[in-house]
Symmetry: C2
Subunit: 242 residues, 2 copies
Amino acid sequence: MSDFTGKTEVSNLKPDRKQIRQLKQVLGFRPRKSDLYYLALVHKSAATKIYKNPRFNNERLEFLGDAILDSVIAEHLYRIFPEKDEGFLTQLRSKIVNRETLKRISLKLGIANLVISKVTNDNHKSVYGDALEAVIGAMYLDKGYKRTKRFILKRIVDHHINLKKLSETEIDFKSRIIEWGQKNKKDINFTCLDESAEHGKTPFFVSHLLIGDEIIGIGSGTSKKEAEQNAAHQALLYLENN
Amino acid sequence: MSDFTGKTEVSNLKPDRKQIRQLKQVLGFRPRKSDLYYLALVHKSAATKIYKNPRFNNERLEFLGDAILDSVIAEHLYRIFPEKDEGFLTQLRSKIVNRETLKRISLKLGIANLVISKVTNDNHKSVYGDALEAVIGAMYLDKGYKRTKRFILKRIVDHHINLKKLSETEIDFKSRIIEWGQKNKKDINFTCLDESAEHGKTPFFVSHLLIGDEIIGIGSGTSKKEAEQNAAHQALLYLENN
C-alpha cells in the first residue's frame, strides 16, 4: 500500500481561515488535512468553470465516502437489529443511504452551504448529498475508520435518522411513479405476466412499466405486487438518471 | 450503540477442534469469536435442513462483510490510482467484487471447502463467494477494521487479484449475453432508439434487449454501444438472479 498523504490529489487549494472555522463547526473537530475537505466540497461544475481543472472535484472522495458510509450503516443495523434478516437490513440501509436523505442531512449539518458549485441544486439533485459523502471520505483519510464511524453515528444517525419510523415505512415505488406520471402528464402503465409455469411452478411474475409505449422498467418477483414494485423502482432510477 | 458480542446471534454451535484448526489455516490467525466464523460458513439451505433453524445462516454476516470488503477495496483503489476518476474506480471495483471473482478466491483460500450447505454450488452460484464475504463480516466483528483490511489486502488482493490486468480488461457484456444465448439456444436481440431529439440534441440512445419477445434488459447512453452494453449488463444481472 502506498502511504497516501493527500499529496497525490490535484489539490493545491486550501480553505482559508473563515472556511476552516466553518468546517470545524460542521465537523465538530478541527480538520488536519484541510485540503481534502476543501476538495470534498468542490462539485465538478466548479472544477471546470472556476478552477479550470476538471480533475479538481469531489467525485473520487465521494466514491470512497459512499463505501465508508455504507459500511458504518451496515454494522450499525447489524448490531441494533439482531433479530432481522439480511433483506430487512438491506432495505433499511437503502432508505437511509439515498439521494433524498443524504441531501436533507447535508443541509441540516451545514455542509450544503459550503459546497462550491456552478450548478443549481435543482438541476443536479445529488450535489449536496454527494458532498456529504465526499466529506466522509475526506474524514476517513484524515482521521481513520473509528473516528469517522463515531461522526456518522453521533452526528448523522442519532440526530437525523429515525430508525424506528424508517423501518416501519414501506417505500411504495408504484405510488411514487404514478404520482410522477400525474405531475408530468405522462401515461404510466404496468403489464404483468405470470411465468410460474416456466419456473417449475414456483410463483414467478414479470412486470413491465411503460411510459406511453416505451418500457422504462422491468421487475420480477414471487407476487404481482413485488414484480410491479421492482419495475417501478427501476423506472424511478431511470428517470432520476436521465 | 449496543456492545455486540455475538450473543444476540442464534448461534450456539461452535466449531470443533478440527474445524478451528482448519479456520486458523485459512485465516492466518486463531479466531477468538469462533462461533461467528462458524455461522459465516452456514448456507441457509443447511440452516433449515440440518439445524432446523432457518435463522442460523450466514446471510446477515454476508451483508456486513460485503460492505466492509467494498470499503477496503474502495480505499485501496483510491490510493493506488490517484490519477483515475471515480468512473474508473467504480468499474474496477465491480470487476473485483463480483460473484465469479469471489467464488474463485473462496476456493483458493480454502473457505469454500469449509462451507456447510445442502445445495450443490452449481445450483447456487454464489454460495462460496457469499461465505467469503460472511467470513469477512465475522472477522470484522472479531478483530476490527484494521485487521480485516490487512487480511483483505494481503491475503486476497496481493495474492489473487491482478489489478493491472483487470484495469485493462473491458467487460464486454454484449458478447457475454450473446454467448449465453448461443449456449442456451435462446434468441437474443437488441433494439436501439436514438432519442437525441427529446434530450435537447445531446446524443442519447435507449436499447432494449429481448429474449424471444420478452424484454429483459434496458440501457441508455450517449452512444448506441453504451446503451447496448448497459442493456446487456442489466439482462445478465436479471439472468443471474432468476
